[in-house]
Symmetry: C2
């Protein structure tokens, strides 16, 4: 697998592409001896995003869908568990083959003197495996709460319990946080030496981050309900 | 294809899921008669993001990679062209089967009174098809410039020409902007009536957007090179 190219090329080699995963298909070609660092990098990626992109084979096509996720490093799967959810009616959530969950955080735009060396700073983790339909009631509730808490940390504890009807309508899938890889790029552009002397083009990095704005109360919210700390602290 | 569920469920139905594409696999189950609106929505999505997620079947697995893209509504493919690029050495860019390119913009976190009705506001477009390796020299140059201009509009015209060596090292793939679908969600939470009466939980939307920060000049940039308008205007 040469995903390294797809991630960032034609661009400077990522500065920290260290391997985590145990199989050839999730092991990058370079720098194979940084497993600990990569495990931490995977956790960082998991903590830093609100949504993932899930690859599911549908009719032979590797369809890619954005969806919410949650994760539990102490989950019952090898290496911990990442969870996605959906309606029980969804065919996309009943795959009979392996899936891929990719999470990407854009950290900056890398503007070089040449088009060739333009790139992006990013952190991205990819997890592949055969999804497990979560059937245990306690794990299902925990997974759904983790998905809510991924959106706003600490929120699930302020909500009512899930109803039996809601639980019956929802399917939860788990994937082990085991066969995974992380790629990242940091730093400035990697221009050719010949271009650096020609100082007519600005070069550098434009930092990027997801910004959360002023919360908009629901129209049907009683004005007496103040914005709770678990929301204001994430802004 | 029931991607509608994966996109947003268990959540309120998207407010504007209108069909664009001509095949069953990219046509949503509801609201089939809004093709014009959806075409505009696809263009909006294409214009609004910096990276896409590409689904490619590798060893039977629907691998998902983040990558840069560019698009040309007047491109030679049916409906126009979306372009991705990479190293000629990349196996992921030489797929022998169809691929999927998905672009997602996160617009807000939808916080409901129940976990079940939590959702996100987003715009997402998915394009599927058999990739075409771009071989025409002029189209290759245009595509690479479009990819740069997707990162920073108008930048490519300020850069030197691509070298022969750079062009030889780069593969460009095109996909028609034809078999595509757009999904979006806007608005506040769709709480159950029974939950709205219980005013103990804040409900509403936390807007989200990608924010670009103060540009960081490259360490090797001459201090006499000012930040150009094409960068300052995007901040």
């Amino acid at each position: 697998m040469t995903d390294s190219v797809v991630f960032a090329a034609p661009a400077p080699a990522p500065t920290a592409p260290t391997p985590l995963s145990p199989t050839a298909r999730t092991t990058h070609k370079r720098a194979r001896h940084h497993g600990v660092a990569e495990r931490a990098a995977l956790v960082d990626v998991l903590q830093s995003a609100k949504l993932c992109h899930m690859g599911v084979t549908v009719g032979g096509v590797p369809m890619v869908f954005p969806t919410a996720y949650g994760f539990d490093l102490d989950g019952p799967d090898r290496g911990g568990s990442i969870y996605v959810h959906g309606s029980v009616a969804s065919r996309s959530l009943a795959p009979d083959s392996e899936i891929c969950i990719t999470i990407t955080i854009l950290d900056g735009l890398v503007l070089a003197r040449s088009g060739f060396h333009h790139s992006m700073n990013y952190r991205s983790g990819g997890i592949i495996g055969s999804p497990r339909v979560v059937t245990d009631g306690d794990e299902r509730v925990k997974a759904l709460n983790l998905i809510v808490d991924q959106v706003v940390p600490g929120r699930s504890q302020h909500l009512r319990d899930h109803t039996r009807k809601e639980m019956a309508a929802t399917i939860v899938l788990a994937l082990p946080l085991y066969e995974a890889s992380v790629k990242a790029r940091t730093g400035g552009p990697g221009d050719d030496a010949a271009d650096i002397g020609v100082e007519t083009v600005w070069a550098g990095v434009v930092p990027a981050a997801t910004h959360f704005g002023e919360p908009i109360p629901s129209e049907d919210l009683d004005s007496g309900v103040a914005l709770p700390d678990h929301i204001s602290t994430m802004l």
